[in-house]
């Protein structure tokens, strides 16, 4: 189903134009990296603050109020440029194990952020200025850091074709993870 959607997207003139454009794809990549600096730069400051590693004399609430709006702006631009980058090469991206790993980690990072902001943060007034926030907050910071580290690395690895479906034979676990549709079964 999604494979067919990817094939259909790849046939759109816009997708072909992006893919073949000399500059558009490169500019999108550059903007994606720039906004990575804004979005993740601000986001890791909160994570590291929750861990008690940085800006320990700044209240957590201050970081959330003053820096997260910037992070959100960066995130929106990242998502838009990221979607366009995927749209430029939809079939290969859809079958990339790194892209799939990245999406899973993005969902987990979203859940972690949602849990922190909806639950853990509600009791923040009690530990706002603490050097070390409580365990739940530290855990949220650590999980977020680990996931984003993985997301950045996985994102960069999409460029490598080691596990691409058109490079057979691959171990069956790779073909399963990448959802490769094989013409003929390999030994």
């Amino acid at each position: 189903m999604l494979h067919l959607l990817a094939v259909w997207l790849g046939d759109r003139p816009w997708s072909v134009a992006l893919h073949e454009s000399r500059y558009a794809y490169s500019i999108l990549e550059s903007v994606h990296v720039w906004t990575l600096c804004i979005f993740l730069g601000m986001a890791i400051l909160l994570d590291l603050r929750l861990l008690g590693w940085v800006l320990t004399d700044v209240p957590v609430s201050s970081i959330i109020r003053r820096l997260l709006p910037w992070s959100v702006v960066g995130f929106v631009i990242m998502v838009i440029t990221g979607l366009l980058l995927a749209f430029a090469i939809p079939v290969r991206t859809y079958h990339s194990v790194f892209f799939r790993a990245k999406l899973i980690m993005l969902v987990l990072a979203g859940l972690n952020a949602w849990y922190f902001h909806s639950r853990t943060q509600s009791g923040m007034s009690a530990w706002d200025t603490n050097y070390f926030p409580p365990r739940a907050a530290r855990a949220a910071g650590a999980i977020s850091l680990a996931l984003w580290l993985g997301i950045v690395v996985a994102g960069r690895m999409i460029a490598y074709n080691w596990f691409d479906c058109d490079r057979q034979p691959q171990p069956s676990v790779v073909n399963w993870a990448a959802g490769c549709v094989l013409e003929e079964p390999t030994e």
Binding site: C37, L45, R66, V152, V153, R156
Partner: protein, 159 residues
Amino acid sequence: MDLLPFFQWCEASPIGEAIRESRWLFPVIESVHLLGLVVIAASVLVVDMRLFGVGLRDEPVARLARNMQPWLIVSLVVMLTTGTLLFLSEAIKCYYSPAFWIKISCLGVVIIYTFTIRQHVVMSSEARLRPETSKMVAVVSVLLWAGVGWGGRWIGFGG
């Protein structure tokens, strides 16, 4: 002065050769380079934003900068180390890449700028600083770093 022999020597170095011959080394070093980028971006941006008058406005600039200084220095060392390794593996490509020269020029300027002019402004008492001066210092810093990042990304596009 012709620098090409030096770049050829870098390309032929055992380290450069080892990275080229390995399937994993380049991507792994590059990933560390990217993670370093996130940390250096955080350390630079949070101070430049404050200088510009946004972000952590309740914090004194000097204290914020002192807080971030170790992160800036460690991430800069990581970036320079991994960057040098990546460069050694494709020095000749870099020699012919305008993007590389833009990157390296911006990098040289921004490192000197950060530890002289910007450092001076950040550490001086805020009462004596005109807001326009602070803003200008922040904008120049962000633009120079953006040039470093842009150049770096475009080396990969063969630009």
